[in-house]
């Protein structure tokens, strides 16, 4: 009850700050993704973003598979700024031929001399379309059992000219889990991310998801990633190292198996290009 009251007070304070017409803090993160995670940034109204992501195999086999480059998972996604605060997106990943769709809505904006953080909601649905194998349960192939949902609140702040941080309480709901294992349909996790700008166009980023214990079976580990971000006009490049092979929440939060300590590190990149689909280009 006390927590609810505190949250309510915080939101109320935020609204009061909004009423003062203070200057918005822009660019807490550069792009719509930190590494695997979404950032709290939404597209500008009428802006269209194409994002191409790759995650390669682990580097543990060395030169024989060129440090994992022979194996690649790919996600191709599109996001559209319906308004300046609402982004709609779709994507498809080669991992289990998974399609996803999401909405991202800004709730609060950080302001200079005002509210010290921004808040964005992410709601995502993913559908696995890959056929199940003989070892899988027959029930798994039912359509509704192929669905996964993610709800996430992203709270972030530009601490200084160089440093931005974000925390992400997350709930991943899986319609179907294999009942032979000790798992839960709902998986709660808390993510943390940061971006440290080295120059105007170069930044380091990192993210980590802590999955609360007792929800996943043995063998699944927390997702961690570090990356370097290069921004040009219109294009953003992110080159990263991560132990996750998926680029959708249900994959990297609940299905990561590689460990950093065992050289289960994967190279990867995100490449995004923005276009103007509606209104004036810039």
């Amino acid at each position: 009850m006390k927590l609810k009251t505190a949250i309510l007070m915080l939101l109320l304070m935020g609204s009061l700050v909004f009423a003062q017409e203070k200057e918005l803090v822009n660019g807490i993160f550069r792009g719509s993704r930190i590494i695997n995670s979404h950032s709290l940034e939404t597209q500008r109204a009428g802006e269209f973003e194409f994002i191409l992501s790759h995650r390669f195999g682990t580097i543990e086999n060395g030169i024989s598979d060129l440090f994992g480059l022979d194996v690649a998972r790919m996600r191709m996604g599109f996001a559209y700024g319906a308004t300046s605060w609402l982004t709609l997106g779709v994507g498809r990943s080669t991992f289990e031929k998974t399609y996803d769709g999401y909405v991202k809505a800004r709730i609060l904006r950080q302001k200079k001399g005002g509210l010290p953080f921004s808040m964005t909601y992410l709601g995502s649905t993913a559908i696995r379309t890959q056929a199940f194998g003989p070892q899988d349960s027959i029930a798994a192939s039912k359509f509704t059992n192929r669905l996964f949902y993610t709800h996430q609140i992203m709270i972030g702040s530009k601490i200084s000219d160089r440093l931005s941080i974000q925390i992400m309480p997350t709930l991943v709901h899986r319609n179907f889990i294999d009942s032979r294992e000790e798992e839960t349909n709902d998986v709660f996790a808390i993510g943390g991310a940061m971006r440290f700008r080295l120059t105007k166009t170069l930044a380091l980023s990192g993210e980590y998801y802590y999955v609360l214990p007792g929800q996943l079976r043995d063998g699944f580990v927390n997702s961690a990633a570090i990356g370097i971000e290069i921004s040009t006009n219109g294009h953003d490049f992110q080159i990263e190292l991560t132990n996750s092979q998926g680029m959708q929440e249900k994959i990297f939060i609940t299905e990561t198996t590689s460990r950093w300590s065992d050289m289960g590190i994967r190279m990867g990149f995100n490449l995004s290009r923005k276009f103007k689909a509606r209104g004036k280009w810039f």
């Binding site: 660019g27 000219d161 700008r197 120059t199 105007k200 166009t201 006009n233 004036k280 810039f282």
Partner: protein, 343 residues
Amino acid sequence: MVLRNKWIWSLLTIICCIVVMAFKPVSKLKKWDAETPIHEVLFALGEEKPKHFLKKMTPEMVERGKEIILTGQTTSPKGKKSSRVSKYYQCTTCHNLVQEDPDLTKRDPELRLDYAIKNKLPFLQATTFHGIVNRESWYNDDYVKKYGDLVRKANQSLEESIQLCATECAQGRLLKGWELEAVTAYFWSLGFKLGELGLTDQEMGQLVEGNEAADPEELRAMLKSKYMLKSPAHFGDAPPNKEKGYEGLTGNPERGKHIYELSCQYCHKEGGVSWYTLDDNKLTFKELLRNIPKEKHFSLYQIIRYGTYAVPGHRPYMPHYPIERMSNQQVEDLRSYIVQEAK
């Protein structure tokens, strides 16, 4: 006989009318005041109407023209929404709509900056539309020298200038006939008025009283001496040694701050016409400082003096500043502000 008399009387009446009209005193002069557009005065004094004069100008045309200038599109006389003239820019990306030089007979960027600071105006590459119809040439001097036939017609015609601006400067499309008329009508509404010319009481008196002794040609010349008939445009160069900057000039960071805000950030603000945002972050100033000596358009000397070009696949670009729009001293002022903020 009666019929013949009627003809004679009719003829006499017509001759009388012509004589009366020819020797009619310039009674219109008495109506002229500070709000009178100067083109009306000039025409009354016998000035030939320019090619861009419109016989018919309605408030609807002016409103449509204003919308095109401000947003790039409007509603056609048939009630259809027009397509955007340019996907990238609107006219006000580079042009002001109000007076920007405190003295209309001078194009002094230093005075203009003071005026821009005082009146909170953007400090831009292109000249204001205020009084554009009163000029007699456009795209002057080095624009003709550099671009030759591309701008020669525009140099002598406001309508050609508008079309050139729409297609080349804004990387858009040609305006349709009704759009061109609407924009021209709006421009006529922005023409100079007598009260803006700083006429002395004596000069105003000459006009108001309609001194018949005054030569209309002299009056026209007097009026035209109160504003510039063209905006000079000369292209400058980046300093030979960018590290040292323009020789003999020392920047004033306080003025540089105003240039950064009224000029650079006008386009490079968050949500502005450029992807390359220039905020007040120290990293931004460090980047600008680091790029100064470079032989590429990220150097402020390079971008201000040469701009960039529209290329296939990437049409947006940045036009350069002629020296009449930003002086070498002002570039040094801007540099000194960047140096100060990057520390």
